[in-house]
């Protein structure tokens, strides 16, 4: 299986070889990392949804940027790409298609969560 | 500042180019110390030297000492006006053959 760059279209929800490497690096901290990521994301996602509905451009940019970064770091490449899309739109203050985009993110996050938990 | 040497027979010719001052110290010394075999007389060719200072005079004295002191055979040739003048002020014609 080939490695895929961030932002590219990916077939997998998680880049498996990369995350296995990360697991090896983190060793017994891997569980903590996954839990931290999931908690952090589950706290931020509802706030992101609210910010989209309020069309709060600054908050929306900040949250999507943060989530994009942390998702990239655990190699959730599709999720990170979706969040980048949100970030770009929020930065450009174009909120028309954002609510639809968020539904995709919710869905993708649940898939990633399931796959991550399976690794523990 | 550049030093070039050539040997013809038992004569070593050292050509000095540019400003002859302290920066030439090591190179000038090497010029006569490293080509020593069978050299009996020395020629310092000043045709391309533009200027010399008191440390250059010192270097000439060192060469003279190396070449045998009072019995040394050292000729200083083709000096320009400035170079000639400095040698004359110091009365170096009493120690060297200046041509």
């Amino acid at each position: 299986m080939e490695c895929k760059g961030t932002g590219g279209i990916s077939l997998a929800h998680l880049n498996m070889p990369q995350i296995m490497e990360l697991k090896e690096l983190m060793d017994d901290m891997f569980g903590d990392l996954i839990t931290t990521y999931l908690c952090d994301s589950e706290e931020k996602l509802p706030r992101l949804e609210a910010a989209i509905n309020e069309a709060n451009s600054a908050l929306c940019t900040e949250l999507s940027h943060s989530l994009k970064g942390s998702s990239a770091n655990i190699y959730a490449e599709d999720l990170s790409a979706l969040l980048k899309n949100i970030e770009d739109l929020a930065r450009a203050d174009s909120f028309e298609s954002l609510p639809d985009g968020f539904i995709n993110i919710e869905h993708e996050f649940q898939v990633v969560k399931k796959e991550l938990l399976a690794l523990l | 500042m550049a030093i070039a040497t050539s040997v013809s027979g038992s004569e070593l010719v050292v050509q000095v180019e540019g400003r002859f001052d302290f920066s030439a110290h090591q190179e000038f010394r090497d010029a006569y110390e490293k080509t020593d075999d069978g050299v009996k007389s020395y020629v310092i060719d000043m045709s391309r030297a533009t200027y010399l200072d008191s440390s250059a005079l010192g270097m000439l004295l060192l060469l003279r000492d190396h070449a045998g002191g009072d019995n040394a055979n050292v000729r200083i040739t083709k000096c320009n006006q400035d170079v000639k003048k400095i040698l004359t002020i110091s009365n170096f014609e009493q120690l060297f053959t200046i041509e």
């Binding site: 903590d32 952090d40 940027h65 943060s66 990239a72 | 005079l57 010192g58 002020i89 110091s90």
Partner: protein, 571 residues
């Protein structure tokens, strides 16, 4: 895993990102500390003094770029590398990170190998930076230390080399060293006879190595001048000293003068210095006097030539002497000041009193901002009446008022010794043990010198004093003197000193006996020793010093007496 663990600050608002970074850094063996926003990052920087900072760009409260600016402005000259953490892709944004003081960036997702390589690279740079700082501080500390030492040594040096009489009104000078120490020396001292010795020297190079030779030179100059030695003797001594102590290739270009106020004459020895100028007061004509010898310290004693040149110097005539630093001064364009510019100043001069300042000003204008690259020294000597420079100041040792008062000494010089040796310093040294006579050493020197040359030249060599009536005669006289010296065989001059105590102090009688045929002094007695009768014998001068003078025998013996009073000393 690493020789010396670093302290690394991780500033990222995302906890999971911090965990990953911490895992990578710890795996390398370094210590970590954390910050969750820009404000915390600045606070942690101040508290933890990290060696490297990993700084997220977008953070709440204060973003990474602001934090970087604050941190970088407070590190001073220390090196604290900042690596920006970013998922920014835009080149302009990345460049902005570096502009705000970042040293590098790392993009998400974090790559372990790349981050570790960057940390290693910055660790090397930091170490090198610290080493350089340390070495720089060490160098600057050493330099400071050295300059301090030089300043102290300089004070000693100045005491030795500047103990003379450069402050007399007939001298103006400029000494402008290139570094703390001056490779140029300028010395002036009065002789017991009232004349003045002046020496301008330029050692090879500059700074300490050049200055160090000036110490023995000055010692010999001052010591021998005070004892009444002739210029030739002093030069010979200095040359032999320098030849012994200086490495080959190092020497001292010198111009030495004997300025005789009474005879209005200078005696010059010059080796290796540029021409000096003699400016005539009345005609404003400039004569150039050229170097005729090799510098001091080049030839061995056997080869050394101390022949001097003599020139008459009338009152208010001036001499200008300089080291080559003057003529070879350069302006911003690299042109030499040169002799032509110097000559122009002389030609343009209206008031001779201003000439010295005109030269100095012109030189300063010329060199301007370009600074100098050699020691520069300039001296003006003006011929004046002796009274203008004052009496020769000789220290009277307090307490010992009378010293040895009852003694007799006979000193005879014969043959070649008579031709070549100057006995005056030795004799003056013995006379100077009598403090009262020490105070008169100037006059005694003159007295003995006149009597000695009469005895030697008129007595032993048989030269006629009649010749010395005019300048032409003088030349002839000296020519004859040379000849007579060559053909002279046996001959002698004897000095007999007899010192006796008196109720007031003491009395010195001096007899000078020569081996010559004498002369008819009887006929001259009536003339009261006026100058016409005894031309060139310096009799009026002798009479002005002594209480009595009489010729004895066939005229080959002269006796003078001189009394002194202890009372006069106490005043």
């Amino acid at each position: 895993m690493v020789d010396s663990p670093l302290n690394i600050l991780i500033a990222d608002d995302n906890k999971s990102d911090r965990l990953i970074l911490a895992a990578i850094v710890k795996k390398m063996g370094h210590h970590v500390c954390f910050a969750e926003d820009g404000l915390q990052a600045v606070a942690q920087f101040n508290e933890q003094k990290p060696d490297i900072i990993l700084l997220d760009v977008m953070m709440p409260n204060m973003n990474g770029q602001e934090a970087a600016l604050i941190i970088k402005s407070s590190v001073g000259e220390n090196m604290v590398p900042i690596i920006f953490l970013t998922s920014l892709q835009d080149a302009t944004d990345l460049a902005k990170c570096l502009d705000s003081g970042g040293d590098d960036f790392l993009t998400k997702p974090y790559n372990k190998i790349i981050l570790q390589a960057k940390i290693n690279a910055f660790s090397r740079m930091t170490k090198m930076h610290i080493t350089l700082q340390h070495q720089r501080d060490l160098i600057s500390e050493h330099n400071e230390h050295m300059v301090n030492e030089q300043e102290v040594a300089r004070a000693v040096f100045d005491n030795v080399t500047h103990s003379g009489c450069l402050n007399l009104p007939n001298l103006k000078y400029l000494l402008s060293p290139f570094s703390v120490f001056n490779g140029d020396v300028l010395l002036a001292a009065r002789k017991p006879s009232g004349s003045m010795h002046i020496l301008l020297g330029d050692f090879t190079g500059h700074g300490l190595p050049a200055a160090i030779g000036a110490m023995p030179l000055a010692e010999i100059f001052y010591g021998m001048t005070a004892k009444g030695f002739l210029m030739e003797d002093i030069l010979r001594e200095i040359n032999s000293k320098l030849k012994n102590i200086l490495p080959i290739g190092y020497f001292c270009c010198v111009c030495m003068l004997n300025l005789n106020f009474r005879k209005e004459q200078i005696e010059v020895w010059m080796g290796g210095l540029p021409d000096f100028y003699l400016l005539r007061h009345d005609t404003k004509k400039v004569d150039k006097i050229a170097s005729t010898h090799l510098p001091l310290g080049v030839l061995s004693s056997q080869g050394f030539d101390c022949k001097t040149q003599r020139f008459s110097l009338r009152r208010e005539d001036r001499l200008y002497m300089w080291s080559d630093g003057i003529i070879e001064s350069r302006n911003d364009e690299g042109d030499l000041f040169g002799e032509e510019r110097l000559m122009d100043i002389f030609n343009a001069n209206k008031v001779q009193d201003n000439l010295f300042d005109e030269i100095v000003n012109r030189l300063n204008e010329f060199t301007g901002e370009s600074g100098k690259d050699d020691d520069t020294t300039l001296l003006e000597v003006r011929m004046v009446e002796e009274s203008e420079v004052g009496e020769v100041n000789i220290d009277l040792s307090s307490g010992m008022i009378t010293g040895p008062t009852d003694w007799n000494m006979r000193y005879t010089l014969r043959g070649d010794t008579l031709k070549t040796f100057n006995p005056l310093p030795v004799m003056l040294g013995i006379l100077s043990d009598v403090p009262a006579l020490h105070g008169l050493s100037g006059q005694l020197y003159t007295l003995m010198s006149e009597l000695f040359s009469n005895a030697f030249e008129h007595g032993v060599l048989g030269l006629s004093s009649e010749l010395k009536k005019d300048a032409k005669g003088f030349a002839e006289y000296y020519a004859q003197r040379e000849e007579a010296m060559k053909s002279m065989g046996e001959g002698s001059v004897t000095f007999e000193f007899d010192h006796t105590p008196t109720s007031e102090g003491g009395r010195l009688a001096l007899m000078v006996i020569d081996s010559g045929g004498g002369f008819d002094y009887q006929g001259k007695q009536d003339n009261q020793f006026n100058d016409q009768g005894y031309s060139g014998r310096g009799i009026p001068l002798i009479m002005s010093i002594c209480d009595s003078l009489e010729y004895l025998g066939n005229g080959n013996t002269v006796k003078v007496t001189l009394s002194w009073s202890a009372k006069g000393l106490e005043e």
